[in-house]
């Protein structure tokens, strides 16, 4: 049993949910998303995010447009698609159920 692996798997599962949630109310640059996630300590390194964002975009949950930047290369400005919104709602429900279920199991051991 690889404990590191299990931890990583747990994090990974909620990462997508977090990204979609971040984009729920406002669109954001990649660096904004990274900053928020890092602040929340959900990710440690940035690299994890790039393949994930590309995959979410390819799955049609996210879309992006290019925005010029004064300080560097043009940046991707991500937003949630309609499809992404419905997936988010679904994940939200699943998460709530899961939190309840996990709390129940871990707090009242019989």
């Amino acid at each position: 049993m690889n404990i590191e692996n299990t931890k990583a798997q747990m994090r990974k599962g909620v990462l997508e949910f977090c990204i979609l949630s971040l984009l729920q109310h406002k669109d954001a640059y990649t660096s904004d998303i990274i900053a928020e996630l890092k602040q929340a300590k959900i990710i440690v390194v940035e690299g994890t995010l790039y393949p994930l964002l590309t995959r979410l975009k390819n799955a049609g949950l996210l879309s992006y447009r290019w925005e010029e930047s004064t300080s560097g290369p043009p940046r991707k400005y991500y937003s949630l698609t309609e499809n992404g919104k419905s997936v988010l709602t679904e994940l939200q429900n699943t998460w709530n159920d899961l939190v309840q279920a996990v709390n129940k199991t871990t707090q009242n051991p019989k």
Binding site: A8, Q9, K12, G13, L15, E16, T30, S31, V44, V45, E46, G47, T48, L49, Y50, P51, L52, L53, T54, R55, K57, N58, S71, G72, P73, P74, R75, K76
Partner: protein, 558 residues
């Protein structure tokens, strides 16, 4: 003092130290290797490069213009080690089979040619890596094969051509049977770089270097064989492209043919018989207009999808396009499926129209006459048009070349003609109705019977595989003459002379008590021979009495 490079990251230019560059380059190569199998890998790398450029930008100030090793290390710290990327990447896989797929990948040792260790083509070195032995043993084996028989050279050349050379780091690792994970890739890239450095810095005057003399032989063979292989590859690519053109050409031609047929109704093959007018035929074949349209729609839809696919394949081969997207493929498949269903339904309902069989006949008596009765075909505008066709449509008249004629002995007191009208239909009654749709009349003139070689269908009649059979019943002693054109409709007429249909026409025939007999045919060769033997035997009969020993003995006894 340090050397610096200029690099372009996401459109921005950075000055970077030599060793910092090496570190960054290694980092990015490792990432590229890692994502090489992932969808959208280029985009991921571009995004990462853009982010690195952003981070670099923050590290540049007016007083510090160059990216150093420290900066690169910090950026890598922020971005994460290559292993961390893979962690994010695996999310898509189901967790349960993660380990097993990893395991199978690990044990996946593949044969490659080892270009780094090669003497000629790297085949021996590749085998050595595969079997985990020293390349020397493999070389000795190959040399032995060379000397034992010339066959060894051929084997080597074939292996050279067939086995791909390990080019990427992942392939090199697979060749050695090491698992393709990030630390291995990184290690391997490091080794390669060091090897490269050594090669560059190796003093030139290392005289009579073992490897150098070997490589000379290698490069000589390599040049010739690479040329040949390149030629083979070129021819192969050419053939493939040609195939693409053929696909496109064929697809367009068939499409064109289909469209032409749709609007004009070309010739098709039906039951081995050519039909000159598809539309006309479809109209008399189909149950009603709805059924006809269903049939046409079915055929068109069923053919359309494969044709379009064929054309697209051709275009794809030539221009290396990606495969069709899901929607297009889905709709093509749907069109094909609908076409199939249409065709299936109409075929089933059509086959119901051919379920039962019925026939009726009419009889016409022939006035007895002293003359020989001549049987001949009606020669009119339509009969000349058939050639090899079995159905033609002229001036909205549907004519079928489905008439058969037979001659039998009449047990009646007079000769007569029986015309049998056969047809199929949903049931017996329907079949009879269909048979009545046939217009076929025989002209009886004194001394002449004139038969059309075809029948026509009444205006609102449907084709239900109707056939006409005419049987002439002759009384004994009556003679007929089969006109040569009768060959068109007579079928297997029984006769005493055992002659084939094509031998029977153009001759006169008389009905005898045994059957039809030819009255003016030249005798067949066999018959003549038989008769000759008969007559010989008859002659030989006479002297038998003299020769017979019994007879002589009898005579002596007397």
């Amino acid at each position: 003092m340090k050397k610096t490079f200029n690099i372009n990251l996401a459109g921005l230019i950075f000055h970077i130290d030599e060793d910092a560059f090496e570190k960054l380059d290694r980092y990015l190569s490792t990432l590229k290797q890692q994502f090489s199998g992932t969808e959208g890998n280029k985009e991921i790398i571009t995004d990462i490069e853009a982010r690195i450029a952003e981070l670099f930008k923050d590290k540049i100030t007016d007083s510090k213009e160059v990216i150093t090793t420290n900066d690169v290390e910090e950026v890598i710290e922020v971005m994460g080690k290559p292993e961390d990327y893979i962690e994010g990447e695996n999310v898509g896989n189901s967790y349960s089979d993660d380990d097993s797929s990893y395991e199978s990948y690990r044990s996946n040792r593949r044969i490659f040619r080892d270009g780094d260790e090669r003497i000629i083509g790297g085949v021996a070195a590749g085998f050595a890596a595969y079997f985990n032995t020293d390349p020397l043993w493999m070389r000795i084996l190959f040399v032995l094969l060379f000397f034992l028989s010339g066959f060894g050279i051929l084997v080597y050349l074939v292996l050279w051509a067939v086995i791909p050379r390990a080019r990427t780091t992942a392939e090199k690792l697979q060749m050695r049977g090491e698992s393709v994970n990030i630390s291995n890739i990184e290690k391997s890239i490091k080794e390669e770089m060091e090897g490269f450095k050594k090669k560059v810095s190796r003093p030139r005057h290392r005289s009579r270097s073992h490897t150098r003399s070997e490589n000379k032989i290698g490069s000589f063979f390599e040049e010739i064989l690479d040329f040949i292989l390149e030629l083979v590859r070129f021819v192969f690519r050419f053939v493939v492209k040609l195939l693409g053109f053929i696909f496109i050409f064929l697809g367009f031609m068939l499409l064109l043919a289909m469209i032409t047929a749709l609007f004009t109704g070309g010739a098709i093959m039906l039951n081995g018989n050519e039909v000159n007018d598809i539309w006309g035929f479809l109209h008399i074949l189909s149950i009603d207009d709805l059924h006809q349209n269903l049939l046409i729609a079915g055929v068109v839809l069923l053919i359309l999808a494969p044709l379009l696919l064929l054309i697209y394949w051709g275009v794809r081969i030539i221009f290396k396009l990606p495969p069709l997207n899901q929607t297009v493929r889905g709709s093509l498949a749907l069109a094909g499926a609908i076409g199939f269903i249409c065709l299936f339904i109409s075929a089933i309902s059509l086959s119901m129209q051919f379920k039962s069989y019925a026939q009726f006949s009419i009889t016409q008596y022939i006035e007895p006459s002293a003359e020989v009765l001549e049987l001949k075909l009606k020669n009119d505008e339509i009969s000349g048009q058939f050639k090899d066709l079995s159905y033609i449509s002229i001036d909205s008249l549907d004519a079928f070349h489905e008439v058969e004629m037979d001659i039998r002995k009449s047990n009646d007191s007079a000769s007569f003609l029986e015309i049998i009208y056969k047809s199929k239909g949903q049931n017996r009654r329907d079949a009879i109705t269909n048979a009545r749709m046939v217009n076929y009349e025989v002209e009886l003139k004194p001394g002449e019977i004139i038969l059309p070689s075809y029948y026509t269908l009444a205006e609102d009649g449907k084709f239900r595989s109707q056939r006409v059979k005419v049987v002439l019943y002759l009384i004994e002693g009556e003679s007929i003459f089969l006109s040569p054109d009768m060959l068109d409709i007579i079928y297997d007429i029984q006769n005493v002379d055992n002659m084939w249909d094509h031998e029977m026409t153009g001759h006169s025939w008389i009905m005898t008590d045994k059957g039809l007999k030819c009255s003016d045919c030249p005798r067949k060769k066999e018959e003549k021979e038989e008769e000759a033997i008969d007559s010989l035997l008859n002659k030989a009969n006479l002297p038998v009495a003299f020769i017979s020993p019994v007879a002589s003995l009898q005579r002596l006894a007397i």
